[in-house]
Amino acid sequence: MATPEARAPRIGRLERSALTGVLVREVVNFSSYWKSTTFSSTVEPTIYLIAFGFGFGSLVSTIGGYDYVDFVGTGTVATAVLFSSAFPAMFGTFVKYQFQRTYDAILAAPVDTEELVTAEALWIATRAGVYGCVPMLVAIAFGLDPAWGMLLVPFIGWIAGFGWANFGISIAGYSKSFENFNYVISAVLTPLFLLAGSFFPLDGFPEWAQVLAAFNPLYQCVQLIRAAVFGLLGWDDLFRVAVLVAFGLLVWRVAIRAMTKKLID
């Protein structure tokens, strides 16, 4: 028999073929459930737009110089990104680990935990980038003016989605049961969601809350998307991108750590 050195190409970290393997599994699976996902991610923002648009829109016609529908239409993009990344990551990871035992099968193949987590997050981020655009398209149907800057939205959604996906995977990795998700959803995601400026501006909040919001990736995401859609991108938006990238990289490492602890004993 040949020596290992002679027949084995060196195998390193974050290999393309390992990432592809995990991604192929997700893509093939997606073909079996894309209809329901697309349905809910289209209908939800439509309902939000109608409800908030007619509800608040009848009281306030403009906010910060924008039509209320435009304001909410762009705000819900970030919400859609969050919902289509953090939640599938939390629940999907837990189900694949605990009930379907998919990760046992994948880690028995030449795939490391780092590659597994990275590929899963990349996939969820891509989905979030695409589905994040849906509320914007709905808003266009409700009167939002199309603009070239909108082409940046899927990329912003992708960067933010990568962070939220890893956030969700981390939570799933550190949770022993589904019940723990309730704490995270109530104590972390809901405040972040409301302190993001999606449905109302934060001008009326006390100053400490506004400072806090600067650290909220969701808030930075909302601001970025509005700047892109309304053609107002400036230098401070580079800072916002940096916040999203830093958030993404940080939780990416946390997610790998959490899942390694969970999957390898």
């Binding site: 028999m1 290992p4 195998i11 073929s17 393997g21 599994r25 699976n29 099968a105 390898i264």
Partner: protein, 291 residues
Amino acid sequence: MRGVVKRYGSITAVAGLDLEVPMGTCVGLLGPNGAGKSTTMRLLTAQSIADEGELEVLGFTLPAESKQARARCGVVPQLDNLDTTLTVAQNLLVFTHLYRVPRPERRDAIERALELAKLGDRRDDRVDKLSGGMRRRLLIARALVHRPQLVLLDEPTVGLDPQVRQELWALIDALRSEGTTLLMSTHYIEEAERLADTVLIMSHGTAVAAGPPSELVREHAGSEALEVYGPPARLAEVEAEAVSAGLRTRRTGTSVSVLGIDRRNGTPFEGERRPANLEDVFVLLTGEEIA
């Protein structure tokens, strides 16, 4: 594996295990639940990291080179982890990617696996429409898409009907006769006797005996045993008499098995003679009942 130890808190799942699987043979890990069989399997794919000892798989040192080793191994898990909303062929396709089957060979690899699992006519059916036996066959075929050099089977027939079990035995036996190296864990005596070239009897994380099944039986339990039936009081008497006559016994529910009677001329008991088996060996060596 040499001197491998794996602890979980205060529990030692594997306690200094030595294991060697010669190429082209089938080694069976036989032991009751909790003997450390599944942990051993996880150690071999580096999903568990040993606390002590050395592990080498196909020439690769674990855990450092486990990825290279995993690329050349196939794993049939104890718990079904097929993607149930996908079709049979889609499940196989995913694994050709995970196991890096080169693009031009993928189609052939899938066809070969379908044929092996005899699921050619069910290729476009979703997995949740398959019977338990079909799912198991698919699980085995899935582990073989990349022509692995070593296949790890963790309790391959657990929880299946006897008829389905025999079907799977035929499949595993076919692999063995093709020269695939197999390591199989099981708590079914018959499964180990039929399929394994070498059996390693495991108890509390260590190997208590190893060898070809027939040799293990001959060495430890002789060639024949006497099965004595009767009411509990009678059985107790039989046990006492046999022990005083220097014979070894074991209780099997409704009877007492008196072992090694072929080494004696005549016995004081009335009973049914039967060939000694691995179960006798197991009970003799560990004092535990299996299965």
